[in-house]
Amino acid sequence: MSEFILKARDLNKFYTQRSGRFGFGTKIVKALDNVNLDLRHAQTLAVVGESGSGKSTLARCLLQLQPLDGGSVFFQGRDLADLPAVELRKQRRHLQMIFQDPFASLNPRMNVGEIVSEGLLIHGLGDRDERYQKTKHMLERVGLRESDMKKYPHEFSGGQRQRIGIARALVLSPKVVVCDEPVSALDVSIQAQILLLLKELQKEMSLSYIFITHDLRVVRHIADEVAVMYQGKIIENGNIADIYQSPKEEYTRNLLSAIPGQKQRIASFKSRVILES
């Protein structure tokens, strides 16, 4: 197997926006502008950027949840866009996603057992009993109990719901997991639990993560490599230690100096010159 499990080449995605008086004009927004990414097997690649930088669009496009306007995503060497629909559906079990909002991403009318086992059912994995055992095992692994399978999402706290979201993604034993701001809605104490859980599971199941976030402190703890996005482009990427110690781009430096908790920075923080341009 090649070293890279997921490669993205020249991804482009445009949105048209109404503009001008009464919205007669149209403006094209480049959400993704020739984006290239390489995700190594069993590693974590963090994508950081501010809101509007295109990082969530990137997450959805990588998983083919949104059509691309150009470029290709190669999963284990195969271009996902070239796959016939049936084949793509088969591959989807290897490409899973964990969402930001644990309140909005779980169906309130399904109990936890149904939510977590739905993927197994759709992909026809195992019989009823095997599915039950797998679901139970996965829930226990993320710190929930067998008795929780009969409960509904509203009965859980934010952190527990995020665990359900993780169990749902991982019960299919995926290879690549895209995590879109998985901890930004959580308290720091819960955030630490979830980050550690994700790290443990990565080791056990040799998962490769694409970790989308705006929190540079979280990135430092979870990622091996980092890509900085700004206005749809990846402006800098590389090894996590290199980027944090010697960022090349002005924008990255600015982003790093904005991490709270560096007292001297607050006095000297300059208005963001390039960001406003």
Binding site: S189, I190, A258, P260, Q262, S271
Partner: protein, 284 residues
């Protein structure tokens, strides 16, 4: 120096469940020209404490006990009308979500001017001039006074909220998670703006947050709340560098650092329960 605000033995519970103390016997003080940060997880009672200072507690909740002394007078004894005079005039407020706290059908200039005309009786050109000044003060071009909230970015909206809250030069500014919804770079700008305004206007500031990074940046004093109670209070240096209470230590262990050297350690709540008897006496 007498404290600007002193909260004494504040206790809050729901009307229908008087035994469920959401805020339990909370006391701390805020000085003029200083920032007091209240930190805690969700549900720790930090926002309720702030709301009760403003007299905006939901009518489902009851303040069972306690005094809130502001410049020597007990706010809890004031009539609704008297309280309205103080709110916005002597106590400014900033909330977490700027979009939901601004009125979408009124220009931001009008909204900033509102408290000036209500509390200070400004009108016409004098009002316009003051609004323009305020906008410049928070770093927005005065020409944006005619913009509607949806025409502004998140950071600009929060600046408008700040302009509104400092319009009457209040003695106390209460900010409930003012930067939680913002990007880090914008957050840094807003925090440094608040810090500057606080110093130039000698305001006391009560900042509610769950982010220890923010605390380290702007706080003079820190109050740590856990399940409705204060577990530790002190200067920012004491609390962050030499925490006494096991909960404060545990909470600090959860915060990822920018260098990535620290090992994250989630809170062991069961252990905390046992250690509750070892409660550190709070001196403020």
């Amino acid at each position: 120096m007498a404290a600007l605000v002193s909260i004494e033995e504040l206790t809050i519970a729901p009307l229908d469940q008087p035994s469920l103390k959401l805020v339990n016997n909370v006391s701390f003080a805020i000085q003029s020209g200083k920032t007091t940060c209240v930190v805690g997880e969700s549900g720790s009672g930090k926002s309720l404490t702030a709301l009760s200072v403003m007299g905006l507690l939901s009518n489902q909740l009851k303040r069972q006990h306690g005094k809130i002394l502001f410049q020597g007078q007990d706010l809890t004894l004031l009539s609704a009308e008297k309280m309205r005079e103080i709110r916005g005039r002597q106590i400014g407020m900033i909330f977490q979500e700027p979009m939901t706290s601004l009125n979408p059908v009124l220009t931001v200039g009008y909204q900033i001017g509102e408290s000036l005309s209500v509390h200070l009786g400004l009108k016409g050109d004098a009002l316009k001039k003051k609004v323009a000044e305020l906008l410049e003060q928070v770093g927005i071009p005065a020409s944006r006074a005619n913009s509607y909230p949806d025409e502004l970015s998140g950071g600009q909206r929060q600046r408008v909220m700040i302009a509104m809250s400092i319009a009457c030069e209040p003695a106390l500014l209460i900010a409930d998670e003012p930067t939680t919804a913002l990007d880090v770079t914008v957050q840094a700008q807003i925090l440094s703006l608040l810090d500057k305004l606080k110093a130039s206007m000698n305001m006391g500031m009560l900042l509610i947050t769950h982010d220890f990074g923010v605390v380290a940046d702007v706080a003079d004093h820190v109050v740590v709340m856990f399940r409705g109670e204060i577990v530790e209070a002190g200067t920012v240096n004491q609390v962050l560098n030499k925490p006494k209470h096991p909960y404060t230590k545990a909470l600090l262990d959860c915060v990822p650092d920018a260098e990535g050297k620290k090992l994250l350690k989630p809170i062991d709540y069961a252990w905390l329960k046992d250690s509750k008897s070892k409660k550190v006496k709070v001196a403020s």
